[in-house]
Symmetry: C2
Subunit: 132 residues, 2 copies
DNA sequence: TACTATACCTTGCGCCGCTATGTATTGCAA
DNA sequence: TTGCAATACATAGCGGCGCAAGGTATAGTA
């Protein structure tokens, strides 16, 4: 699925922090984990992930170390810091607040939305606009 | 609650489109509706909303008309177009895909996250990193 | 030998939220 | 009647960031 850039921006930090909360990891593995978690619906490129990792490191949310994998390859492992753990919790709160609002408004519209996307005529809503 | 700018960016379009799917509305009323829907947790400024409305109009997702309210005031009412309704459905799909991924990873961590934010020591995770 | 997957990185473009600022009107309270 | 808050719209400049494109290098495999 093609995700809007704003949604990618909003989800990249919480997703990365949460993945590192599970266990230390490195760039390529994080890309795979995101694909996995979303059942293949979210497809990040490495070109967008590395800047995210560098930013999170600059902000002190994560820490990097070089390590040599069993394969003989160099890998840069990242670890969640205490500060990063707090940040993750905060981002979780924010996401859930927005999600609650969206669910609130979608919940009241699920049936009509489905009907309309199926091509049925929308109930006419003009005439007197609501006086919010 | 203070929301990160990325989250604001990601939620502004779906929220506005969904609110207009309920009924035609105008700037100030939309601000109030957002506050209402989020139980006061989301506080948008008008300075960020108007550019959003102009963009959505430029993209053809909504349409504007001037109207004089019972109060005698000029108000710019916005209406969701058919294109906007499709866009809303698409953004809903995207949001739910990301939300599912986040729930997936948070679900496996809810207890530990709560424990750690309460100040308990995190389980040491260094030593052997996971081989993702 | 060549190709794919792994593994890291940076540059430039374009977009957009946010703060600050501006204008104008209505209604209420001092 | 004076002043403030709420209503109602709008724009300019700044800073930040995704993303595509491009780059380097190694390991494993055909």
């Amino acid at each position: 699925m093609e995700l809007s850039k704003d949604l990618v921006a909003a989800s990249s930090s919480p997703l990365v922090l949460s993945i590192l909360a599970e266990a230390d990891s490195y760039g390529y593995a994080i890309l795979r984990r995101v694909r996995e978690l979303s059942d293949g619906q979210i497809e990040w490129t490495d070109g967008m992930l590395y800047p995210v990792l560098h930013r999170l490191e600059r902000l002190g949310h994560i820490e990097a170390r070089w390590e040599v994998a069993e394969t003989g390859r160099q890998r840069k492992y990242y670890r969640l810091t205490d500060d990063g753990r707090r940040q993750m919790a905060e981002e979780q709160r924010q996401w859930q607040a927005v999600d609650a609002a969206l669910r609130g408004i979608w919940g009241a519209q699920i049936a009509p939305t489905l009907a309309r996307t199926l091509g049925e005529p929308a109930p006419t809503r003009h005439g007197r606009p609501s006086l919010a």
